[in-house]
């Protein structure tokens, strides 16, 4: 892989960095913000389990994204990824709960439009559908979990000091699940568009073959780890004290319900199991972690009687559904035009 290859991968690396900086912070935000867990512990768990999730279970959601449009030239992948990344950056600046997923989907549709490839309507409907039921599912799970936790706490008479200890353990376990699910579901957003144009070749070391795709996911994992280490602390401190204030116990509920949503849409094993039993299954597509989290917070507000329900958050989600993919598609379309006609790089095979 030459310099050009590395350069074209840079936008994917940025997406990975952003995943580590922002989405990993969603997992441990309250825990670190309220000083229940040290940042160092949170960073280590996030980096490790996001990478494990990506390598073990990341392929399913990446394939779901690939069905939408198989970006098959590296320069094209670069533009798709870069447009999505830029959109994420803009939306974050605007303070919207931005979804990397929606940005990347918009950008892929932009690539399809530019190159004249048909957009698979079924795949698109499937993915867009999850934007709606992702937050709803998150709200439902959080709603139920909240009552279970409250019921248990009211009956178990745990001393405040002891509860503190259990809460820390709970935050770590929930964090592991959260990081794993994030890697499994959202790494597709980072490396998905590079799968069909991967510059990596299979390497065999001592009889073990390390496929190009695996190398790609590992690279995404490493970029994420860098994002966690370099920037997520700042975001964690903001989430812990600013965006929506959660108690450490409710934070566990939010992390678990968010992670469950991401897990449901990423687990090949679960899908096979449900299909084999003739049950309706969850499509393997990337869903938005921040929106599932916002859905979970809303679920808890509802469980508490809906008094603290922040309708603005709900409005922001809906706005994100429209703004993010549209801007990413438009930006991608324009950028592809420049890449092809000004820089003379092939954006499709």
């Amino acid at each position: 892989m030459g310099f050009a290859g590395l350069f074209f991968l840079s936008s994917g690396l940025y997406m990975g960095w952003s995943l580590g900086a922002n989405d990993a912070a969603n997992i441990f935000g309250t825990a670190v913000g309220t000083r229940m867990i040290k940042f160092r512990t949170a960073a280590f768990i996030s980096a490790l389990f996001i990478t494990i999730g990506a390598v073990v279970s990341g392929a399913g959601a990446a394939k779901g994204l690939g069905d939408l449009g198989a970006v098959n030239a590296l320069a094209g992948s670069f533009i798709v990824s870069a447009s999505a990344a830029t959109t994420v950056l803009w939306m974050t600046r605007a303070g919207l709960p931005v979804s990397t997923t929606q940005a990347i989907v918009g950008a892929i549709v932009g690539w399809n439009l530019f190159t004249g490839n048909p957009t698979d309507q079924t795949a698109l409907t499937r993915i867009v559908g999850t934007w709606i039921y992702g937050p709803i599912l998150g709200a439902g799970i959080a709603f139920i979990l909240y009552f279970i936790v409250r019921f248990a706490l009211e009956r178990m008479h745990i001393h405040l000091i002891r509860l503190d200890k259990y809460t820390r353990t709970g935050l770590i376990i929930a964090g592991i699940f959260g990081a794993y699910s994030l890697g499994a579901n959202n790494m597709a957003n980072v490396v998905g568009v590079f799968v069909s144009a991967s510059p990596f070749v299979d390497i065999t070391v001592m009889g073990i073959t390390f496929t190009g795709i695996q190398q790609l996911f590992l690279m995404g994992g490493l970029a994420t780890a860098v994002g966690v280490v370099t920037y997520s602390k700042k975001v964690m401190m903001t989430i812990g004290s600013n965006l929506y204030k959660l108690s450490p116990v409710t934070a566990i509920v939010v992390i678990v319900s968010t992670a469950t949503v991401l897990f449901l849409f990423a687990s090949q094993g679960l899908q096979d199991f449900l299909i084999s039993r003739g049950l309706p299954s969850f499509p393997l597509v990337p869903v938005s972690q921040s929106q599932a989290a916002v859905g979970s917070v809303i679920g808890i507000s509802l469980a508490k009687g809906g008094k603290n329900l922040n309708l603005k958050l709900l409005g922001n989600i809906v706005m994100g559904w429209i703004m993010t993919p549209t801007s990413a598609a438009l930006l991608c379309f324009i950028a592809l035009f420049f890449m092809q006609n000004v820089f003379g790089q092939p954006v499709q095979m």
Binding site: T34, H157, H159, I161
Partner: protein, 223 residues
């Protein structure tokens, strides 16, 4: 006063240890209030030696409680425990300390000023002391519930408010009796009665002040 128990051996976890220390602290508050009741009753019965002995015990309890409170505070910070509600817990312990301070003040001032309590006020003073102490005992129940069964805090707090109100009523009745009386000749002695009556009732007032805080902390603690 019986010798303090050691809080835990080498196998006791830090969490368990601090839990035990807190329980002991609340017991000190209970003891302080109950000792005051004993002291006042002995004073009213004319048993000066018995009263002085109780006063010393109150002093000792207050000192031990102070020391223990500092230890708990240190531990909560050093062990990085309950970062989320640490401020509330420390605030609670400090205001509880005010209750003990009042108990100590009352007994000390009885000892220094030796007020002459006329026979017709003895019963009222006894009742006022008993009622104020009930407010404190109910408060420590509320505090214990805050740590373990937060949803039961309110029922105890309601009782604290009830006893505080009762104490107010007795306080007013006592003052009216003292000032309307012909038996107490000197105005200064009437004022002296008022002073002690207010001091004793302050115990219930302080208990109520802690109760007000606790009500807010309990809401914050609900998940």
């Amino acid at each position: 006063m019986k010798k303090q128990e050691r809080s835990g051996g080498i196998f006791t976890s830090k969490a368990k240890m601090i839990q035990m220390e807190m329980d002991r602290y609340f017991s000190f508050v209970d003891q302080g209030a109950m000792l005051l009741e004993e002291a006042v009753k002995k004073y009213l019965a004319g048993n000066v030696d018995g009263f002085e002995e109780k006063t010393k015990e109150i002093d000792a309890v207050e000192r031990s409680a102070d020391e223990l409170r500092r230890q708990i505070k240190h531990r909560l910070y050093a062990e990085m425990l309950i970062p989320d509600s640490r401020g509330d817990v420390l605030g609670l312990l400090e205001t509880l300390d005010n209750v003990l301070d009042v108990a100590k003040h009352v007994s000390t001032h009885f000892s220094i000023e030796t007020p002459e309590i006329p026979a017709f006020l003895v019963e009222d003073f006894t009742e006022l002391t008993e009622t104020s102490v009930k407010a404190v005992l109910e408060l420590t129940l509320a505090v214990r519930a805050f740590f373990q069964e937060v949803y039961r805090v309110t029922e105890h707090l309601d009782k604290v408010h009830f006893w505080e109100h009762e104490a107010d009523t007795i306080e007013e009745r006592l003052k009216r009796k003292a000032f309307a009386s012909d038996e107490i000749k000197l105005f200064s002695k009437k004022v002296h009665m008022r002073y002690f009556c207010e001091r004793i009732a302050l115990l219930a007032d302080e208990a109520e002040a802690v109760a007000e805080r606790l009500a807010v902390y309990a809401i914050k603690r609900a998940i």
